[in-house]
Symmetry: C2
Subunit: 391 residues, 2 copies
Amino acid sequence: MLNIGERNPVQKILMGPGPSTVSPRVLRALAEPTLGHLDPDFLKIMNEVMEMLRYVFNTKNQLTMPMSGTGSSGMETTFVNILEPGDKVIVAVKGVFGMRMVDMAQRCGAEVIQITAPWGKPVQPDDLRKALATNKGIKVFAVVHAETSTGVLQPLKELSDICSEHDVLFLVDTVTSLGGVPVDIDDNEISLAFSGTQKCLSCPPGLAPITFGEKAYHVLQNRKTKVQSWYLDLTMIARYWGKERVYHHTAPVNMIYALHESLRIIAEEGRENRFARHRKNSEALSAGLEAMGLKLVVDKEYRLPSLTTVYSPESVDEAEVRKQLMQQYHIEIGGGLGDFRGKAWRVGLMGYASTQTNVILFLTALGNILETMGQKVDKRGALDAAVGAFG
Amino acid sequence: MLNIGERNPVQKILMGPGPSTVSPRVLRALAEPTLGHLDPDFLKIMNEVMEMLRYVFNTKNQLTMPMSGTGSSGMETTFVNILEPGDKVIVAVKGVFGMRMVDMAQRCGAEVIQITAPWGKPVQPDDLRKALATNKGIKVFAVVHAETSTGVLQPLKELSDICSEHDVLFLVDTVTSLGGVPVDIDDNEISLAFSGTQKCLSCPPGLAPITFGEKAYHVLQNRKTKVQSWYLDLTMIARYWGKERVYHHTAPVNMIYALHESLRIIAEEGRENRFARHRKNSEALSAGLEAMGLKLVVDKEYRLPSLTTVYSPESVDEAEVRKQLMQQYHIEIGGGLGDFRGKAWRVGLMGYASTQTNVILFLTALGNILETMGQKVDKRGALDAAVGAFG
């Protein structure tokens, strides 16, 4: 006989690469009674979610909705719907999520050309120009806006202009930027994009907002082959989220409630206020870390407000520091991935968790732990610098 | 400026084809604080979910876990992981979900042979024998255990024996059976199966439990090509749910809490008690409907305890009846799909919603509504028959 106890998870301070801490308002929304997926009351909620997603994406795109899976299902949605076997795609690789895009595009039978940048740097527009000059018939260029593995914010406008000149679809991963950093789908002429709910939207993981512009939608409607994934096939799913309400799969009703509430919170705060908050708190964190004597991974102009990467001191076991942060302070941060494994920390300040309180607590906690490990750190300087940055 | 109000959904009685009514205990679990997807406290919860899923599936299969998508993603998971282009598969088609399997298998590049049965009937073992006699090199036979579009419970044992004789993988859709009807993965020698959380598990939609036996796992490990879906690729996901804990995608943490709680409820009740409850309540419902003067779609021996299909009287607008049920009683039932569109209702008694109270309320409500529409129905007889069946 099975005898499994209750869970009772303790509230942690989620300052890693995601999930981020979820607002009690959003948690409460999750617990609202489940409606049928064709209940008129639920259909209204779906419409409102689409409207609010358009606001956060800053787009007029009709086809803007959450996919019923986590952020990676959003990535897969963009590739499987837009690519057919033999298509040529350029992917910018400068971290884990660019590599993931390459893998997914190849699984669609596409020919993938990579342009790269060192981890911790953005890709250069000239590299895209060169790739387009030497490779004809490119259908899509895909890039990660906010690389969660490196903390780099990739400038988009020039890349977008190049795509427009060459009539190439511009596909952008906005997982760690949406809701924390402007993504401006329409102004940046982004053809299609995807995101996740567990970063700057501060909703639990489980949904993947996507948006397809007219050009991408036209490509979708004129495919020669079926989308290889039935589950992620937008030619069908758009008919459930659209006026026809044709059943495809049973929507994850309660997760949609949670997203609805997290988007309501964003609408209340206002996009611009929210972006300013993320910027200010990350600047305070960066100032504090540097004043403490630590070195940031990313040059100032490319730093991602939602995720800061910082080198751990060489003589310190970075995993032990993270363990102490969790045990002593209930703070979760991330370790390095790939090139940065064992060498850097990833500190998120996303959505609900992007607060002055968390910055001060984290700097205090990190300073104390490093000191007990024999590191010489300027704890007072770190806090002074952070508080100074708050202004 | 956006100004979207709160949701405040009213509690409905979900007696359709799913989602079913969710227990307050499960809703409460959804609202527990989100943990990181690699937090040791969360990893423990994951392990317990796997253990309890094995109990409900009645299997020792190590690879038993929930996929991060709804039931249909579970269907896609089984096909994309087990099939490679050019593989031959036999699919039993006797309703919507068999048709969906055909579509998914074809999208994997497989050659699909269909065996069929009329809607409302199970497939016949002899038809599988014939298909195997005339088609060599079949890799998989796929069948729906509980057809949600027809209310038929497909007997499995003989089909399974035939698969064993021919060394064919036996793939079973248990979406509407798991947790309400015995599926007995190991006893039935089912090679691989999938389900959904929003039916007899009475958890909100959003996760898809799957189980792969040794034979299916061996096939997976010896693929010549990559799984065409990155998101559903079990060769990677099994390493996150297994001992290695290699990051693949961010697990839908709060939905996993909900599944954990719904499985705890099942473990407390006990599998056999739960199955008996589903059987008894559906027998009472059937007895009541027949006594009222209505005709059931499925012959007694193949009736699905979790979903009853009943013909609507010809002179009645079946959609109007469903509308009245919702407006007057907050009861949701389903309309017919495919062959049964406009002709039948689908009445679910799943998990938390499979209660004597719901049977009595529904029979009363349906009787009243049909009477106001001028139908001659035996309201008293219906209730007497139902109460008699409860014993």
